[in-house]
Symmetry: C2
Subunit: 275 residues, 2 copies
């Protein structure tokens, strides 16, 4: 693990690391914010934030404004990249496939399968790296848009790993939207029986209640609302008795000005999930 | 004044406008955050933030994390661009001269004089535009690095316009540093008698006490500390009896992770300057 930069921020440290990922087969970068509590050696809640299409490990630290509340409450923030990167990595035909668009799953189709293994990377390699490198109390998961899909699906698929989950404007039923259909057919192939394992709405329908609560924030002026389908996820949660706090916000759109507006609530949600 | 975008943020609105500037002779853009208090029609404190080298009107709204406290306290935030822009505008040989590096003065040398008139733009045209377009209570000025130089010098030169002033890592004595010598000789020419009118340390020395207090934050791990010279400004303030709160912060550097860490204090400083 190579330290790329370390910058003081709200009495803590915003760091960026690079490490050679065996799962991905390439170097991967991630950001980590260590609050004063972590620097003092105390165990902290860790929140992994999965970012959306076109983003990278810097997007969340620069734009989401989470460090202040993380400093106050003693929360470690982790921001992974959204896909493998590099000249040897397949690129897509558009910004919604390929580099910057890993969709937090392990691709089975060519040419994606060799490096596009973001589910294993997050849940196994990065997860262990964090546990072994920092003083971790427990780990929660949150994300935005494609990363909201990642947060919901990885938490529902690995509830033993993630003790709390929240999302902002997630792609909540990818099988029912153009982004999801394109990503799943590209990365997983034509057999749709594999798709349902990566669709938050189908997963919660199949698995039932796994968490005491799930928090989702959705702006009602979000121009991608037809890609997100929070209503379908809500209906599935209601059907199986999975508690869900889905907050619909008038006026807000899909971007980081919305994310920063609800970020403090998300950090508090994860802290209070275990109080 | 053309509205380029309007995004909901902390129950207020982050907008970007473009207008045809007579002073600059070209279209200019600026950002404005309107807190809920402003949207409700009440008069608000306005803070103009002058950004540093290479920045533009988007840097502050994206990176400085000021909207939350501005929303809470009912403060309007204005973020102008840092120079004229466009194909007809002279460019420099490096990032510290030319586009993105206007230094908040009116250039007298060619080829800069036609468009590089940022002092008149900020203090006259933009100032009036804001007063005529929004419900303004009073206007304060803050800035970072080159923009900290701009905030200090414009406030000291126009204390009738700006009721409070603060800066983060400002170029506080430009005549004594490479950035300032290069900018002044390029924009103002070889006659150094004109330079002292744009050097915060010489200005406060000449003018004496103008403000009840000035707040400056400076990181001690700032790699540009040799360009900034807060000690010289502090000595001049002490000499003439201008109250100055110069806070030196261990560990912090020159970037926006530092700026966001002290931004709430700056907004509160300007609010309390008139309580």
């Amino acid at each position: 693990m190579q330290l790329l930069s370390n910058t003081h921020c709200f009495s803590g440290e915003q760091r960026f690391y690079q490490h050679d990922s065996k799962v991905i087969g390439l170097p991967m970068k991630f950001g980590i914010y260590l609050p004063p509590k972590a620097l003092a050696g105390e165990r902290c809640l860790v929140l992994i934030y999965l970012a959306g299409l076109t983003c990278n490990e810097e997007t969340f630290p620069i734009k989401a404004h989470a460090q202040q509340i993380a400093s106050d409450l003693g929360v470690i923030l982790i921001s992974p990249d959204t896909s493998p990167r590099g000249e040897s990595v397949a690129v897509g035909d558009y910004w919604d496939i390929g580099q910057g668009a890993g969709f937090y799953l392990d691709a089975t189709e060519q040419p994606w399968a060799p490096h596009y293994r973001m589910e294993s990377y997050i849940t196994s390699e990065l997860y262990s790296l964090i546990q072994n490198s920092f003083a971790v109390q427990r780990i929660g998961l949150m994300g935005h848009s494609m990363g909201g899909h990642g947060a919901l699906t990885l938490a529902l698929r690995h509830p033993d790993l993630f003790r709390s989950v929240s999302a902002i404007a997630p792609i909540a039923a990818p099988i029912d939207c153009p982004w999801g259909i394109k990503a799943f057919s590209t990365y997983l192939g034509a057999d749709q029986s594999t798709w349902i394992e990566h669709d938050a709405t189908r997963l919660v329908q199949a698995k039932g209640k796994l968490f005491n609560n799930i928090l989702i924030d959705q702006g009602l002026e979000d121009k991608f609302l037809n890609q997100l389908n929070p209503d379908l996820f809500e209906a599935a949660c209601t059907h199986v008795g999975q508690p869900l706090q889905l907050r619909r916000h008038a006026h807000y759109d899909h971007g980081y000005y919305f994310i920063q507006s609800v970020m403090t609530d998300h950090v508090i949600f994860h802290v209070e999930a275990f109080v």
